[in-house]
């Protein structure tokens, strides 16, 4: 009776076994890795906006403070994209007829809002509020990165729960004096460990790590 299987089938079987085990491992690990990549968190991905607005120009050249436009950040849940009116405060006089500002003027005269594209997104069951962070010495750049260097704004941080918790569990490395919240040049001083602790004590920073701190 001839052999039922050729000689190589032994190694084939072993190969199959190994592949099976490896495949299983990949199946388990791949998703865990994927959700940690910028592709899934939509990080570092600049979005085209209806108006060619350049933070570099407004922040670095004109030295406009973040809170001038995003003026509710210190008092409200949202930092608010400014109403057209606020843009027109300046651009009524400056570049009043620049073609780049056409969408702005259209919005102003028709009363139709400018449809800005959302860069930072949180799930709807997350009740994030800017105010407590800004008032607790967490600067804009701590989460949003160096916006003043971005031609088109992109998300700097993954904005996943784990990322939030890292800071909520130990805010010390990220705290800065309240007068430097919007300071784009702020960098943690060499003794941040000490400074942070002092700030935490002074501002009575006690970030919640329990669920209803953010989920309601």
């Amino acid at each position: 009776m001839p052999a039922l299987f050729p000689r190589w089938s032994n190694s084939a079987l072993w190969g199959a076994l190994i592949l099976g085990v490896a495949g299983l491992a990949v199946l388990l690990l791949a998703p865990m890795i994927w959700v940690r990549t910028p592709y899934d968190t939509h990080r570092l991905h600049p979005l085209d906006q209806p108006v060619l607005f350049d933070h570099r120009h407004h922040v670095l050249d004109d030295g406009i403070d973040c809170l001038y436009c995003h003026y509710t950040a210190a008092v409200s849940r949202t930092a608010s994209v400014p109403p057209t009116e606020l843009c027109m405060n300046c651009h009524g006089q400056i570049w009043p007829d620049s073609p780049l500002l056409e969408p702005l003027r259209r919005s102003w005269f028709t009363g139709r809002p400018i449809p800005w594209r959302r860069v930072h997104r949180l799930p709807d069951f997350v009740y994030f509020s800017h105010a407590p962070h800004v008032n607790a010495g967490v600067g804009c750049s701590s989460c949003h990165g160096q916006v003043e260097t971005m031609a088109l704004v992109f998300a700097e941080s993954p904005m996943q729960m784990g990322w939030c918790l890292d800071c909520h569990r130990n805010p010390v490395p990220h705290l800065r004096p309240l007068d430097r919240i919007t300071d784009v040049n702020w960098r943690p001083p060499p003794d941040q460990a000490v400074q942070g602790l002092l700030l935490q004590r002074e501002l009575r920073v006690a970030p919640p790590t329990n669920c209803t701190g953010c989920h309601r």
Binding site: L4, F5, N10, L13, M32, V35, R36, P158, Q160, M161, G162, L165
Partner: protein, 473 residues
């Protein structure tokens, strides 16, 4: 003196029917036991189609549930668990006899396990498969069921290990895996036999692949024995642990009727009890249809019946104890549930059916004639299966529907979908079992042959001694 007379003499001597009546040579045995694989019958085809249809019903019911939400079931507040969990506990219970037979009886070296352990194990696998469906299916959001397993998530949140449900997940998956490997390992020599006798090259190749190149060399047998023994040792504690953990789902809660320390032994006994009932339910027809009276003998019927009697008695003892404890413990809520609601409440009729059947059925096995009558066994086993499902039902529902605040008391009424799912799982179970009967040697050929040799030896010695005694006079 011919072999039949010998075995008859032997049986007389030990006053028990032999565990193996045939004395046909190995080749014949192999051919006969493998026959069902090579030649399918019309009956099989019909049954196959029927069960396939039933399985389709289950699939539809499940799809409907997952798409619409479990609101299509009868569950409400307070009765948030009902059919799904009942089915889960029932199936997982049935899944106990298989491993009990193959593992524990293996360690106890019971010769009668041989002919029935294979399909008992298969039964276990399919039952566990059915059971494992429900914990996922009964979730409000089944697609997130994986949150119950500990894994490093970006949320940095872990399962809660104080809850019995993660224990459940672990216990069941372990049990399923070990049972599967145990079953497959036992299959290997027979798959090889199938390979060697397969009519066509394709079939030989197929069975060849699954036989993993088994040649039956003494080295193979040596490793095989060791591995089989180890797995038997591993499976044995699982038999006890799984239903213990399942019982924790209820015991760790503080509901009257659930919150009881007797639950682990109570549940394990109940599981083996219902498991053996299901073994009977399957064994009797198979024996009949495939004419296996020589392999699955009256001795098997009797042994299984005795197991049922023992475990059934333990279950009944548990009934008595939990009721006594309710009174002895003196908690007004416990007393209301155990001594009032279950006895005379709206679901009392179910409770009494269960108490009735579970008392009468096993105790009939005190009578040898009933133990040895296949028909009687079959009938009784059906009753036990039903009773054990109902037992889980009232255990869950009566405790829930009237707990602490009378203001929240409500009834539970199942819906059509509830019924379709439990019925569907029964069909699905039979469906898988039919496939098993058709494509896998469902009696462990190698072990039977081995057994035959051992028995022949014993009998020969016996006969010798008999002769000598005769000469001596």
């Amino acid at each position: 003196m011919d072999t039949r007379a010998e075995s008859a003499a032997y049986s007389k001597a030990v006053d028990e029917p032999s565990v193996l009546l045939t004395r046909a040579p190995d080749a014949v045995l192999t051919r006969r036991l493998l026959a069902p694989i090579w030649v399918g019958g019309i009956t099989w085809k019909v049954l196959f189609l029927v069960t396939a249809g039933g399985t389709a019903i289950m699939a539809l019911a499940i799809a409907y549930t997952v798409i619409t939400g479990i609101g299509v079931w009868g569950n409400d507040i307070p009765v948030a668990w009902a059919y799904a969990i009942t089915n889960f506990v029932w199936w997982i219970g049935i899944g106990h006899a298989g491993t009990f037979i193959s593992a524990i009886l293996l360690l106890l070296e019971q010769p009668w396990r041989t002919s029935i352990n294979r399909f008992a194990e298969a039964m276990t696998l399919f039952a566990v498969l059915n059971a494992a469906m429900f914990p996922v299916l009964h979730l409000g959001r089944p697609w997130l069921a994986y949150w119950i397993f500990p894994y490093p998530s970006t949320m940095q949140v872990w399962p809660q290990f104080r809850s019995a449900l993660p224990w459940d997940a672990a216990a069941i998956s372990t049990y399923g895996t070990v049972s599967l490997i145990f079953w497959y390992l036992g299959l290997v020599p027979d798959l090889a036999a199938a390979r060697d006798t397969a009519p066509t090259l394709l079939k030989r190749r197929l069975y060849g692949i699954f036989a993993l190149g088994w040649r039956g060399s003494s080295a193979h047998w040596n490793h095989y024995r060791i591995a089989y023994g180890i797995l038997g040792g591993l499976a044995t504690p699982l038999v006890l642990s799984v239903h213990t953990v399942v019982s924790f789902d209820f015991a760790i809660a503080q509901l009257p009727g659930w919150h009881s320390t007797i639950f682990p032994p109570y549940f394990v006994a109940g599981a083996i009890y219902s498991g053996f009932a299901m073994v009977i339910t399957l064994m009797v027809p198979i024996r009949r249809i495939f004419g296996l009276h020589e392999v699955i003998t009256t001795r098997h019927l009797e042994a299984v019946a005795k197991m049922t009697l023992v475990t059934g008695s333990i279950v009944y003892y548990a009934y008595a104890v939990e009721t006594f404890l309710a009174w002895y413990g003196g908690s007004e809520f416990e007393m209301y549930t155990m001594l009032k609601d279950r006895i005379s409440g709206p679901y009392a009729w179910i409770v009494w059916i269960v108490y009735g059947i579970n008392f009468v059925a096993p105790n009939l096995f005190w009578f040898r004639r009933i133990r040895r009558s296949a028909i009687a066994l079959f009938a009784i086993s059906i009753f036990i299966n039903v009773a054990m499902w109902l037992e889980r039902f009232f255990l869950i529902v009566t405790s829930l529907h009237r707990d602490f605040l009378p203001s929240s008391w409500r009834m539970y009424l199942p819906t059509f979908v509830d019924g379709a799912i439990i019925l569907g799982t029964l069909f699905f179970f039979l469906f898988l079992f039919l496939l098993f009967l058709r494509f896998v040697p469902f009696v462990p050929i190698s072990e039977v042959k081995e057994l035959r040799h051992e028995l022949a030896k014993e009998e020969r010695e016996l006969a010798e001694r008999a002769k000598e005694a005769a000469h001596g006079r």
